[in-house]
């Protein structure tokens, strides 16, 4: 079980995550760096290339912090799809990985299966082990995660009214795309 005593007693950190989807021939999938910065002296304490960490291997990951200061990674590997499948329905194997801060060491891991329809979770199976590891209900634990992500749809930033609004600017070295959101906290993106 992951205990509250595992937490760093003076935990004041910020976790910096940068993600993108790689389509290289050898390393297709979500590529990602996760770094921990100590806010007391503003120094990088640890950093991992998440896509190269075995415990975080999967198609894509999301991150949050639990109430005692662990970093929680949900690693998703979608089940194979077949032609004719309902496009609004699909499932994934999910590895829930608990990492300690600030060292980003894996201190716990469990797995479950999850099915979603139109973006909403409709079924979970096999989450008993996660309940034992967490010492409580998995849904309650996940709903309490600290997560600063804004609403997203199909991997694109979505404004508060649900519309994506992007402009592309060309520079000599790269093509950048800036997403403009009408929400109070706009999120920028840049493309290949």
């Amino acid at each position: 079980m992951v205990r509250e005593t595992d937490r760093h007693p003076d935990g004041k950190f910020v976790v910096c995550v940068t993600s993108g989807f790689h389509i290289g021939p050898a390393d297709r999938g979500q590529d990602e760096f996760v770094s921990v910065v100590n806010l007391l002296d503003l120094k990088v304490v640890s950093s991992i290339h998440a896509s190269e960490v075995a415990a975080l291997s999967g198609s894509y990951r999301t991150y949050g912090s639990d109430h005692v200061g662990h970093l929680i990674a949900q690693v998703f590997t979608p089940f194979p799809r077949h032609s004719g499948d309902d496009a609004t329905f699909g499932g994934s194997q999910v590895k829930l990985t608990v990492l300690s801060l600030p060292d980003l060491a894996v201190v716990g891991q469990c797995q479950y299966s999850e099915w979603m329809r139109s973006g909403a979770i409709v079924r979970r199976e096999g989450d008993q082990d996660c309940g034992k590891m967490l010492g409580g209900s998995l849904p309650d634990f996940l709903s309490a995660l600290v997560d600063t992500d804004e609403p997203r749809r199909n991997g694109r930033p979505v404004s508060s009214d649900g519309h994506s609004n992007e402009k592309t600017v060309r520079s000599p070295t790269a093509v950048f795309s800036r997403a403009i959101s009408s929400s109070p906290s706009p999120k920028r993106t840049f493309f290949q």
């Binding site: 910096c16 912090s65 970093l71």
Partner: protein
Amino acid sequence: MAPRLLVMLAVALAMAGHSTAELKAVREYLLRPPRDKKILFEMAVTPEQDVLSFIANPKGKWRLSRVRRWLDKEPEEQTIIVPGLALGDRKQWAGPWSAKLIVTPTENSSSV
């Protein structure tokens, strides 16, 4: 918010009755140069009310800036380099990058 400047705005929420609210800008702060035009960034606020700004860099040297006492006349700005994705061959990327800051809770807070 000006599109070419990274602007931090402090806002005061003035409640006017039960059903309406007014937002007023009370402070504007520009991060020190270099100014990264039209680039991905993410912001967060720490429990001490410091402002964090995390700015992408095509070479993988992302900037994390912290601005303390940003309501004062002379805020304190600190910047460090944080390892992040590097653009490399842009043909190897599909879709936008994303950035995220997660400030961990303190002893006295259950969430930020």
